[in-house]
Symmetry: C2
Subunit: 203 residues, 2 copies
Amino acid sequence: MKSDIPVTSLQRLPVYLNYLKTSGDGDQYISSGAIARALDMGEVLVRKDLAYTSAQGRTRVGYKREELIAALEDYLGCNDRKNAVIFGAGGLGCALLSYGGFKNYGIDVVAAFDNDKNKIGTEVDGKPVMDAAQACEGIAALGAKLAVICVPARYAQSVADLLINCGVRSILNFAPVLLKVPEGFTVRNIDVAANLAILSSLS
Amino acid sequence: MKSDIPVTSLQRLPVYLNYLKTSGDGDQYISSGAIARALDMGEVLVRKDLAYTSAQGRTRVGYKREELIAALEDYLGCNDRKNAVIFGAGGLGCALLSYGGFKNYGIDVVAAFDNDKNKIGTEVDGKPVMDAAQACEGIAALGAKLAVICVPARYAQSVADLLINCGVRSILNFAPVLLKVPEGFTVRNIDVAANLAILSSLS
């Protein structure tokens, strides 16, 4: 079902959700036009995107705000708790371990893995840094299907291979390399430096 | 000139650059077809994207690898040094201060700003954490036109307003809110949690 939605639409759903959650002005209803204006988007696009969820807009009044939030949360799986792990407990990995924003999407980042003996056995924000050599046992015990790769670029593909072998289905990759994963698995890349470079090219 | 390129094409240029830099197999030439296959993209798309740069492909042999790298680096401004600052010296901000990947794109992350008295005056990886109350003077002295926002969501808009006032042209925003900036300024958002949520919806 979810594979019917274009990825570009799916990427906008968290934006709508964020907006609805942070813009509560006491009104019970909100129209697609109001959302479109606030987010500087086209109204038809907003309506099409929201049509992928179970939310029902009403002529003239728009969406019931609470229902729309619930429909978006449901679609994005915010109500199903999912465990995720971080691979690489360096600066970025540790920052993500203690980042609170994942909870809004039903994601619990429960542990990190690293191969540095000085880090293994420590905790960050109450979450354990575990031995990368025992990643499969750890991931199975934690029931994690999501993982975030925060290792240097040259190790990222071998970590991805390991994670796939350990039962991880989806990988968020911060290493500036393109990862290959078998069909049926998903990877998203966040190349922070490339994003900043793109910005500076535009300005 | 740069505004002619579609943002989606611009976003792919760092991917090509990364691939070319990390896949060197000694061959002097590389074809758009080989790049397309390696990155699992369409060949026509690759050729179109690369046509925005100054690189000239030759029939049958393709691009001279070194020339293509140089053309991409030139287009992305990797050879113009640019200073960037981080706003918010928490976990993520500090991780980015010590992240080496920016240098590949000609970006020097030179300082962070924070309002926490315990952080002001300290250093991370040799880079100073400065007083947010003196951001304008600091940004002017450093000549920074790029900034990365790593503060909690509720402060992000006021930090963006401040940065724009201080002469920053482009903002990379990690806070999970949509920022408003005046026309002529650019913002890119990286919502880490939303990215992980999108992945988990797809899997």
